[in-house]
Amino acid sequence: MLYPIFIYLASLVLTGALSAAFYRNHRFSKYFAAVSNAILSLIMLVFLINRFDSFHDEVFKTIWSLPMAEFHVGVDFLSLFFMIPLLILAAACSIYGSEYFKEHRSGRFHWFFYGLLVAGMMMVLISRNVVLFMISWEIMSFSSFLLVISEAQKESVRRAGWIYFVTAHVGTAFLLTAFFLLGSGAGSFNFELFGLVPFEVAKSNLIFIFALAGFGFKAGFIPFHVWLPLAHPAAPSHVSGLMSGIMIKMGIYGILRVLMFFTSYQTWWGILLVIIGASSGIIGILFAVGQHDIKRLLAYCSVENIGIILIGLGLGVLGRAWDYPLVSMFGFTGALLHIVNHALFKGLLFLGAGSVIRQTGTGEIDSLGGLFKKMPMTGSLFLAGSIAVSGLPFFNGFISELFIYAGAITGAVASAGSIMPMVCALAVMALALTGGLAAAGFTKLFGIVFQGNSRKTDISSAVDVPSMMKLGMIFLSVFLVFIGMMSFLVIPFIEKPMLLLSGEAASPFIYQLSDIGEKVSILLVALLILMIIIFTVGKIFRRKTVTDVETWGCGYTKPASSMQYTSSSYAEPITSQFGLVLAARKELQSDNEIFPVKPWSFRSSVEDWFLSRVFIWFVKLIDRILSLLRWFQCGRAGVYVLYIGCIIIILFIWKFVL
């Protein structure tokens, strides 16, 4: 398995470099890079799935001429599992991306860094040495940062890139701490030696906290999510698809990898994970509902989905800490499956959003409308993604949420004591609330953007996207339906990585997973058949005439497109009810005349106070502390000499008097 991966990595970088070299012939360069990227990923994917059953852990070690470093790579089921969504998304996004840049050309190194990003993630998955891991991790952050600032002439993009890279860097600092703590007992930086000697409780708690924070900055759960809603809209859509789809999952991968170093889990880790996951899910989706920009909405929705994944992880950890293998099994299975599912549908949604932005020139939800007729293919695929992200049946999002639910339900029903049922009930409640709010958010997104009539933007000349872009999206949506309908075929891929996490205690119950999958599939297939029958019957016995009229305006004689519900008005009940969390701002522009002549307008916006109050506050705090020392460079040469005298005297006193 490893050698094909090496070849894959090398060829990714090579094709990227070649495309940079052929930049003069831009058309050729981009198609070459994108298509070869996609083909390579697909070949790798097929190979991987083919080998999945007969796979055994592989390790490759060689000396590496860097201090503390050893070139130590390996593949186990966990890495293998994460590679699947990575490869699928890499292929889909590069196919899509080949046509994405319409007017301006992509930068010379765009495809190089794209390949590097994919390669970096792949390297993260196979690294088994801290130095190698950190370098891969940084390559991933670095190349994605460069991709985010593709359109850096815009102020917002620069700001987004800045905040993204800063948070990534802060995350790295936490990660280093976690890894140093891990390595301090082992005396080595190779993963295989971590945890051979079990950690003391206090130390393992520290490791967990630092790892959670460090990986959290990448995974983007609350309160580490600040970069997501900025960076995703800033990046080109295929890049945001890749970043939101799989790059943030690398944070989850890291947490899982660190968890695997421990032989026993602490209870409060699980509780913390569930609480973070629940708040991340609810707050994330609430923010999403209040957004006015398609990609910002999707970005906040990623925060939500990471929250759902964390709930699953938390249940898994709790199940292991308290020895409920069933809870652990369902929790980890759900989390793992949701990782894949979120990658697929979020990738699809970002690509769809990119198509809308590319064809209409705006991502402002309130100015769009009625795009379904102009872009039927994008619209249908976007609808599929929306249903999937809301976790509704027939699509994949449902299956994974179902497993997480199952874990929480098992925990709530079967457990003794009072903490576990409460935590599980919290998980169930959070899942239900996020599910409902996600449906609200995505009906809003789909309904306002694709349905009704256009609100401000002129879409009369909009057409559907080129076929390459469609191909990328269709490719992803196939998986959406396949996993949604035939989940029992997918579950075998999860069992082994799940057992790595939940321990062997769960293996007797593993049949339950595909059992649930089969039952759901049978029901859904039956339901689908029923729908088709009813629909066909309706078509066949179509004796009735259907008359086209205007939408009924309830008696109003001159309906205009500006009378339609907007995203602000659609989300208003929610944003005003959850004002405590959202701090929504409402702007009502009106003139207070008896006979109003000017048009009134209403707009509500949701400000991310994590960014404005917490993050920026933190940066300002650092600056304020530092500014206490700014008198130092006073500009007077004599005083400078005085400093030298003082430091001499201070050192003298320190070393000889004290």
Binding site: I387, A406, I409, V413, M429, Q451, G452, K544
Partner: protein, 297 residues
């Protein structure tokens, strides 16, 4: 198995319009009118199915597909509920999630078909529907967790189709939120008033303003099936062991009628609070189900 499915399906399809009739009759009785016949809904459905349709030019394929999907999903959800002990057609850990998410899918399509027309009224209804159902779902789920704990099973259909009931205090604490949510989900007073048309306070009716003909028939039928589904669940929670307990759904319908007659419609702003209090009751029930204060076995 097959027979169970057929029975459930038939019961849902046949009895559900009757519930609406019973409610209306009860309300008429309380207001001193004679009211429409019990079977008025059947006549309505028949008439609608025969009729020609009028469709807005703004709409898309979503609007055409939505009634079918809404109807089928609601029906499928209803079929999952065991009509008598041991007749659950499918049972697994977390099966109620499937049930309610099928309803969720139905709702999703109801909402986007409403938005499809581009009408501000329907948009308004859609917005409210989306919000209130999101608030209602956690309440229901917590209640169900309580019931599952009482029955010691992780499958909802098993719990409904199983034998023993538990402590009546806890059961009632689980049922009351269910009842409230039923009123909310089915657009009943005090959440919504199904009898008014074109008032700005409306939720469900306003979303299907532009439906007509068969589409409207399927939508209305689906709505009544949903009512059937909820009342059947409540009945089976209270009386899990009885074969003919499904007949009690009619009693539920009477109760709904009574409630609608004696309570006024609340203001929109208070609806979240109402649902929130239902949630608190549900949580109380759940808390009692494992706290050591109660020893019921």
């Amino acid at each position: 198995m097959i027979i169970n499915i057929i029975i459930s399906t038939a019961a849902a399809l046949v009895f559900s319009p009757l519930l609406i009739g019973i409610i209306n009759k009860t309300k008429a009785f309380f207001s001193g009118r004679r009211g429409s016949p019990f079977f008025q809904m059947y006549f309505d459905l028949y008439r609608l199915l025969k009729k020609d349709a009028v469709r807005s030019g703004t709409t898309t394929i979503v609007f055409i597909l939505a009634p079918v999907i809404v109807f089928c999903c609601t029906l499928a959800a209803a079929v999952l509920i065991p009509i008598s002990p041991g007749t659950g057609i499918i049972s697994f850990t977390g099966d109620f999630v499937l049930l309610f998410y099928l309803l969720g899918l139905a709702r999703f399509f109801l909402i986007i078909s409403a938005l499809d027309t581009g009408s501000s009224f329907e948009g308004m209804g859609a917005s409210r529907e989306a919000f209130f159902s999101a608030m209602a779902e956690p309440v229901v789920f917590i209640s169900i967790l309580t019931i599952l704990r009482l029955n010691g099973t992780t499958s909802f259909t098993d719990a409904l189709g199983g034998g023993g009931a538990g402590n009546w205090i806890i059961i009632s604490l689980a049922t009351v939120p269910f009842f409230i949510v039923m009123l909310a989900e089915n657009a009943r007073i005090p959440f919504d008033d199904p009898n008014t048309h074109l008032e700005l306070t409306m939720i469900h009716e306003v979303m299907i303003l532009d439906n007509s003909g068969r589409g409207l028939a399927l939508m209305e039928w689906a709505a009544s099936i949903k009512l059937w589904l909820f009342s059947l669940i409540i009945v089976r929670i209270i009386l899990p062991g009885s074969v003919l307990s499904f007949l009690l759904t009619f009693v539920i319908a009477v109760i709904i009628g009574i409630v609608e007659s004696v309570i006024a419609r609340t203001t929109l702003l208070k609806i979240p609070q109402l649902l929130f209090s239902a949630g608190i009751i549900a949580f109380l029930g759940f808390f009692l189900s494992f706290s050591k204060i109660f020893v019921w076995s």
